[in-house]
Symmetry: C2
Subunit: 435 residues, 2 copies
Amino acid sequence: MAQKPSIPKGTRDFGQLEMARRNYIFDTIKGVFSLYGFQQIETPAMENIGTLMGKYGEEGDKLLFRIQNSGEKAALAPEKGLRYDLTVPFARYVVQHREELAFPFKRFQIQPVWRADRPQKGRYREFYQCDVDVIGSDSLLGELELIQIVEEVYRRLGINVCLHINNRKILAGIAEIIGAPEKIVDITVAIDKLDKIGVDAVNAELVERGLNEEQVKALQPILNLSGTTQEKLTALKTILAGSEIGLKGVAELEEVFQLLDIVNLTLNIELDLCLARGLNYYTGAIFEVKALDAQIGSITGGGRYDNLTGIFGLPGVSGVGISFGADRIYDVLTELDLFPKELLTATQVLFATFGDAELKYALKWAKELRARNIAVEVYPEPTKMKKQMGYADDKKIPFVAIVGGNEMETNTVMLKEMSSGVQQQVTLDELCTIL
Amino acid sequence: MAQKPSIPKGTRDFGQLEMARRNYIFDTIKGVFSLYGFQQIETPAMENIGTLMGKYGEEGDKLLFRIQNSGEKAALAPEKGLRYDLTVPFARYVVQHREELAFPFKRFQIQPVWRADRPQKGRYREFYQCDVDVIGSDSLLGELELIQIVEEVYRRLGINVCLHINNRKILAGIAEIIGAPEKIVDITVAIDKLDKIGVDAVNAELVERGLNEEQVKALQPILNLSGTTQEKLTALKTILAGSEIGLKGVAELEEVFQLLDIVNLTLNIELDLCLARGLNYYTGAIFEVKALDAQIGSITGGGRYDNLTGIFGLPGVSGVGISFGADRIYDVLTELDLFPKELLTATQVLFATFGDAELKYALKWAKELRARNIAVEVYPEPTKMKKQMGYADDKKIPFVAIVGGNEMETNTVMLKEMSSGVQQQVTLDELCTIL
């Protein structure tokens, strides 16, 4: 036999169990999105290369999958590339269709994206993103609703999480206050590592990145901020007293916390001044969600952007969005054994037969059951009992209905419960009741 | 403002209404597949170029979208291409994962495919296919179940259809009987056009394709075959008496019709000897489904193949499958106005407010309603009534709950039904009852 076929590295096939589990995650998330009036859109896998280039930094440009032109243009530079994320196509969509949309526009989008990254554990070249955004309003109700959605999604999935929140304006205020507004990126990159490397290493990195001793000293109250959310906010107001943008960030966070009080949120929320998030289009609140009982990074993240659509010529449209990491959520649910057990029990009963007459008898029963919306299979050939039972086992079908001469005479089937091995002779009505 | 962004030609964005309608089609089809024990799989968008090349004929090879290699290999021949259909990846999947699968393996797959075809009305470069197959059994129960699925899907969608059925073995028998077995492709291509161009033109084409006068004459009883299915089958048995393979094809069709009688199918089925279907991997039954009340080609098609996995080194595994054309089904449902009206009514009620206190009051109500699984939106800013009402109109939200001082005092909302304009003051319980 020839060598087994394979698929490109970094890509995956999803079998029935994986699909059932993935659909469970997507359906749960979609169900919650819908409760808040978010509606689904889809964009093409390919975008014009100009839509994608320059939107993800130099490194991102290198990771774009480009489509070779067809025909005579094959040798020329590619005109199309595969979607790298859902955010840039979303911005493109909003600008292109702005006359047809009702603003504030609330959309969600669940589609694969492609990155020519070096594949490694948990990092794929094709993976799904699951984004929800509201664009066309600067109301902080957007932040509130996304946080409520996070709470409800993880409540339904059974995952204990903590939501970390910060505000980009506070980070800008800090950079301003220590006299290094142009160093905001260096500062955020460094303090983002506080959890991992500790305060001394962060300070060393800050010096390496060009801050002087005085500036690093001025940062210490931020790095050491502790206490309740209210205590942190109060302290911040003192620290940032000289920065208009910093105080604006504090005020926004205070308002979000007030809104959260109104709806009695029970989610763990931590004001985390070291949360920075890499993407530089964020301008207000930023979020990250971590699973409490699993060693994995962020499973959801996002924030507010004031000018995402500006890159396509429509400036000044504020929005806020988050992205659920389906692959990581899948890993957490697997690790904590939280997937519902009955996900793959699609077929309720398999008919096993041992002759043509029995097979035909089974077909009539199957039709009746399906008319009652019960999923049924008829083993396609009268063959050995063992083979038919093995099929039911492999597919985790809970019941097998065995048809023989006696059953046909009495208008019954012999129903075997696969988990217990118990058999009983039942009529069609009795079978419906059991299933 | 800059030029509006656009998407590559032949691709499409799907807005909320289109998505709701597409999901309605997919969910209907999935629901029926599940009743028969078919389970979903997904394969990567990219396949190794060797998996795709040579599987769709010379023309198909030209229409493959190839992915440019990254890094130093950029100038070399592409190693990956985008999925061109779901059949070849399915065959690759079965061979690659054969040790993990329960046979007969019943799978369905709903994913986009890409073809570098010249875009035109109804023909896209990215479109969804919706395939269902059972592989690993040559039982004609497979044919029966697929026909039952066709009946149930179109019954649920409300589309009147006719299923055309034929058998490749009959076509082979005909070629054999007229003494031109090597001309089977020419014969099928020509007689496939009978409906469109008439018998004289078909005969002319047969001559052009190298059949002699005697052979064309021998074909006439086939072209002129009429009467009931039983009459056609009886006539065929006489015509094909000298061809073993031809008689096998007739016997297979007879058995399928007997099975259909057992389950009392009400679907229109026509034995159509001019049905050929282009793809040359079919070896047994072939099907096509046409909508009776719309001028459009085939909306579903498929057939039995005895050696699909042979191309990947696993010969002799028989299967049968069909593919639902989602885009064409969409067009038929649109043309006949058959989409359910309430598809886009996601949000049940919009809260309209005119001040901060009212907004906060609305947030509490919204939380209560969502806890009862009712989809609710709160307009994110206290702004002009007209704007908030316009938003409800645009999103086709059936009710607006208006909150003012009086409502807050009496713990009610003023509920406006948008279709009638009727307003009434209601409590939370009353609101739940109405929704």
